[in-house]
């Protein structure tokens, strides 16, 4: 009954941004994965997860994010994260995720780093 995750996708040229709003648990993670795989199937190789609206996340949700990172590595794409709470950022560092996915303070910095060059 607890409110599920809300997800919004913004397709831009060469990059898609996924905005999360709410708790990223197993259902939330799976919803993100579904959207990400759809974008990958549509040809997007650069994805940005803007976690501004997410204050809690659990390790089951994060495991699903790791699946997305694995897929990105396979297709030579890139996944970035921005607008993390300090605790979520700390958790990603504890796990070593930061080596395989860019972590950026805000969307502008993320897009500058992720977007394919001219």
């Amino acid at each position: 009954m607890t409110e599920g995750l809300k997800l919004t996708v913004d397709r831009r040229s060469g990059l898609a941004v996924l905005y999360t709003d709410g708790y990223i648990n197993n259902q939330g993670g799976e919803e993100i994965a579904r959207a990400a795989y759809e974008l990958i199937d549509q040809g997007y190789t650069r994805l940005l997860l803007n976690l501004h609206g997410t204050k809690i996340i659990n390790s089951i949700g994060i495991s699903i994010l790791i699946e997305i990172i694995e897929r990105m590595l396979q297709i030579d794409g890139r996944l970035g994260f921005c607008a993390l709470t300090p605790t979520i950022e700390k958790t990603f560092h504890i796990m070593g995720l930061a080596q395989y996915a860019g972590i950026f303070p805000d969307e502008a910095a993320a897009i500058a780093a992720l977007a394919p060059g001219p």
Binding site: I56, N58, I64, P86, M95, Y100
Partner: protein
Amino acid sequence: MSEQAILREVRLLLPMAPDMETVASQAATAVAQYAGLSTDQIDEVRMAVTEACINAFEHSRAADKTLELTFTVFGTREPERLCIAVRDRGVGFVPERVEEPRIETKLKAERKRGWGIKIIRGLMDDVTIRSGADGTTVVMCKSR
């Protein structure tokens, strides 16, 4: 460290059922606020408590399907330290036998899970896990 007294002790009994970790997390927030922890510290406590609850829900197989949390605030005059014990009466496990997860391996492995305990240890100051045939108790503490 000086001798610390128990300033407050709160107990919470939760059914092992979906979403109930959010109740533990909110109760933890209130006690952590009382304990004078910073906003970021409170967030870390929330996340660690959530992980400990989910572990018990998923792995304990406790017949009573009840999770017992004890929140203890220690201090001399002012609150100084919060400890949270998360106890289930399930089958237990051997913490030393749990393999430390590594991202390089997990990225290729079928099972990407296995991060809960590492996250709890990373976010809290001290963590002790006692586990045996009568269940598991994870005690995690954080000081101001």
